[in-house]
């Protein structure tokens, strides 16, 4: 039981060949590029969603921040689609791997910080000291703000990893519990099954919400720095 629980998170290999790269590239097939004025159902829905999300997400940014539109939209599409595909049975979710989330979070965060330092150096450095702090507290507060700045990418990555991994683990556990309870007591199994259904609905929501939160935070860091 112990070994079974975490085996769904190992990087998949088929006859010894790691296919994890294929699995990471798979969601791109589900987003065909629009070719006509009015496309098929799939592309029309995706276009509508992208317009809705981009308008809502990029409205707070200045002109400089809006050059990041492509990056932010592809980020939310990638994380959302990867998380949703991970809810299919037996599939592998790349966002459960901390390595991949760190690989997404650190460059994006570093990009926002570098943009801020390059174009608005004084304002970026001024973020280290909130307004109106008493004079004796200043050294300590600068240290605290520096630590909170450097923890941002780690928090981004770990938040996504932990949420998705925890959701998958809960589904595995409660599903296994439901199966073993059917032979012991049908009522309890039914209750557990209801919990499983609710949890699956939550997981669908979490998949989308985590994508949104990740992208929103990156855009907030960008807003601070442009």
């Amino acid at each position: 039981m112990n070994e079974n629980l975490f085996t769904s998170f190992i990087t998949p290999t088929m006859v010894g060949i790691p296919i994890v790269l294929l699995i990471i590239m798979f969601p791109s097939i589900l987003f065909p590029s629009p070719s006509r004025l009015i496309d098929n159902r799939l592309v029309s829905i995706q276009q509508w969603l992208v317009r809705l999300t981009s308008k809502q997400m990029l409205s707070i940014h200045s002109h400089k921040g809006q050059t990041w539109a492509l990056m932010l939209m592809s980020l939310i599409l990638f994380i959302g689609s990867t998380n949703l595909l991970g809810l299919l049975p037996h599939s592998f979710t790349p966002t459960t791997q901390l390595s991949m989330n760190l690989g997404m979070a650190i460059p994006l965060w570093a990009g926002t910080v570098a943009t801020g330092f390059r174009y608005k150096t004084k304002a970026s450095l001024a973020h280290f000291l909130p307004q109106g702090t008493p004079f004796p507290l200043i050294p300590m507060l600068v240290i605290i703000e520096t630590i909170s700045l450097f923890i941002q990418p780690v928090a981004l990555a770990v938040r996504l990893t932990a949420n998705i991994t925890a959701g998958h683990l809960l589904i595995h556990l409660i599903g296994g519990a439901t199966l073993t309870l059917t032979s012991i007591s049908t009522i309890t199994a039914f209750i557990t099954f209801t919990v499983l259904v609710l949890l699956t609905i939550l997981e669908f929501a979490v998949a989308l919400i985590q994508a949104y939160v990740f992208t929103l935070l990156v855009s907030l860091y960008l807003h601070d720095n442009t």
Partner: protein, 85 residues
């Protein structure tokens, strides 16, 4: 068993059974040719099932599910229904 039209230009359904090995061997196995074959296959599927007015990706997702069962088979082998594990 020579044919009037050269084997090279026939489609697969027109190739006679005896000419099959020579037809397979004359296919373009260069990287560019293989990539072209994958591209042609992808667009054949895409334009038949997805790029239509009421198309969808349900079959793609079902195939992805079945495909991702293969790496998991080793860990799931002992979850089969049997009297003694």
């Amino acid at each position: 068993m020579a044919s009037v039209v050269p084997v090279k230009e026939k489609k697969l359904m027109d190739v006679k059974l005896g000419e099959l090995p020579s037809w397979i061997l004359m296919r373009d196995f260069t990287p560019k040719g293989t990539a072209g074959a994958f591209q042609r296959g992808y667009y054949r599927y895409h334009n038949k099932y997805v790029n239509v007015k009421r198309g969808g990706v349900a079959m793609v997702l079902a195939a992805y599910m079945l495909f991702s069962y293969c790496p998991c088979y080793k860990e799931l082998k002992h979850q089969r229904l049997c009297k003694y594990h």
